[in-house]
């Protein structure tokens, strides 16, 4: 199940609206079998926490050499030279962040706009069907989007480059030659991937805005759009931001589609047409070829960094979404 649906269906944790568990009351008289059962189930549930801790531990243990050798400078130097055994992760961090920002710049207006349309304008039935279709976009495996990227988007970006350079060429971002592969292409692919998350979660959040607030603003003479802008969006802001953060988390960690179109060149360049590299892509490309211990540890150090970033981004996103949905109990 994609996290989009999972989010839609997951009840807010510790929600005051959660039905009281009838079994709680008889806890006192529970039998030995019940106690064993409860602890066993807890053990299964706790596996998730153990997993999170285990991932963290393993990544730290297996990236130790890199941190010992380069220290914090690992994250801010940009030389990546397996032959000389010098490793710096900056180009990958740069590529990851810039491609994600491009993705957000494209996907946020599209996603939030679609969400407004689906929640406010489309009839409920139509809206459900269209949302279902948009969510299917999230189900398409990223390797398939990468395939589309190589054979459709790369030529398209290549042919659009002269136009972009002519009109926007005064900006450093749009100068230079187009190979077709590069940051811009990766950003567009990522935008398609994260669009369904933003749309579907934002739609839910907007739908959960209380009807009375909307009616009140309409009663004061606001147009439908003014109601959306001045009542709905401020009310849903935290949830929409959460959906954007969640999408950002996805974009940061996306591997295959990006690997296939970003160009895989560890350099930092302002031009969006230039090939670049991302953290996930370098791990995917070089991990099975990494020969020396330091090389492997450096790649795992990148994985650890990526893990830390996505944990923070996702943790924030979840809290923001919980916050909006909690106050309203279950969405219907």
């Amino acid at each position: 199940m994609s996290p989009v649906e999972e989010l839609q269906q997951s009840p807010p944790p510790l929600s005051p609206a959660a039905p009281p568990n009838p079994l709680r009351r008889i806890r006192l008289s529970e039998r030995a079998g019940d106690r064993i059962f409860r602890w066993t189930m807890l053990a299964f549930g706790a596996m998730v926490m153990i997993l999170a801790a285990g991932i963290c531990w393993e990544l730290m243990r297996n990236s130790k050499l890199a941190w010992d050798a380069f220290g914090f400078k690992f994250l801010i130097t940009s030389v990546w030279d397996p032959v000389m055994e010098v490793y710096g992760a900056l180009p990958f961090i740069y590529g990851t962040i810039v491609s994600s920002i491009i993705a957000l710049m494209i996907a946020v207006p599209l996603g939030v706009g679609s969400a407004i349309f689906l929640a406010e304008l489309a009839p409920k039935k139509v809206s459900n069907i269209l949302t279902f279709f948009i969510e299917l976009l999230a189900a398409i495996p990223s390797v398939i989007l990468g395939l589309m990227g190589i054979f459709v988007l790369v030529p398209a970006v290549k042919s659009a480059q002269p136009f972009l350079t002519k009109t926007l060429g005064f900006l450093p971002f749009f100068q230079g030659h187009a190979y077709g592969i590069g940051l811009l292409t990766a950003g567009i692919i990522l935008a398609i991937m994260i669009l369904p998350y933003i749309t579907s979660i934002s739609r839910d959040v907007i739908l959960s805005v209380p009807q009375v607030l909307k009616e009140a603003s309409l009663g004061l003479g606001a147009t439908h759009w003014e109601m959306v802008r001045m009542v709905v969006l401020p009310y849903a802001r935290s949830g929409i931001l959460g959906s954007i953060f969640l999408a950002l988390g996805r974009a940061l960690g996306e591997t295959m589609a990006v690997t296939m179109v970003i160009g895989n060149t560890p350099k930092i360049s302002l031009s969006l047409f230039d090939p670049a590299y991302s953290m996930a892509a370098v791990i995917a490309n070089e991990f099975s070829e990494a020969t020396s211990d330091l090389y492997v540890h450096s790649l795992i150090a990148i994985a650890l960094t990526l893990f830390a970033i996505t944990i923070i981004v996702n943790g924030l996103a979840r809290l923001m979404i919980y916050k909006t949905t909690l106050s309203k109990g279950r969405r219907s």
Binding site: F37, G45, V48, A139, S142, L147, W225, I300
Partner: protein, 282 residues
Amino acid sequence: MNDLFSRRKLINNAMFTLTGVFTFFSLFSLFLILGYITYHGISSLNWNFFTKIPVPLGETGGGIANSIVGSAKVLGLACVFGIPIGVFGAVYLSEFGNNRIGFCIRYCADVLNGVPSIVMGIFAYTLVVLPMKGFSALSGSVALGIIMIPLVLRTTEEFIRLVPGSIREAALALGVPQWKVILRVVLPTASRGIMTGAILAVSRIAGETAPLIFTAFGNRFWDDGLLHPIATLPHTIFTYAIAPYDDWHRQAWAAALVLMAVVLIGNIGARVLMRSKGSASH
């Protein structure tokens, strides 16, 4: 006054037209992708494609049978890890988990859901590949199983919560111990929902490629057992797509079509299951 009104009206219409156009864009990209892959993939689908293994470069023909079987093998084994842990963890969350520990587990699961699959792949690598000194089907399924756990956990919890409390109470009133009530009454009642969640989780991990690169690794031949490198569908698509041969590209499109069909059928099927379930319980 009138001027202001018509301007507001205009903005209103303009903005909503814009949101409609945005929605159209989103849907358009979906159908463009589906249509394009079907168009390019369908011509290369034939019997050989499903029953033969890849032929050496230069020869035509051959198929991806080993990838299909390999994918099935890895996914099956991943389910063996992922589904029980997810389902039983969900039993804890839904039946006993309205407390701090439950919140922590839920939060961990949600955050883990957002962790890039490639990180899970690295974890499986350090956990299985390094100690066993070799890429294997087993390590691939460990990676995919780990990705499954939080997904299954959260959907199953939701579905178990849908089981009406009256059913639990009725069974308890008959003097049945709680653990039996949960295993024999609650879980079977929620079984359709649990299945839905499992199908969705499987169709999600069926397309995962990144963690397989350095766990299952890929293989151009039939593999035997679980301890050797194994070919999987998404990994084959990746290998074929970035190779410079036209014949491989053709096969990549066909394989993409197969994979997409599997994923979409799983997704749509699960939702249909879920919808009929929802209408039955209300």
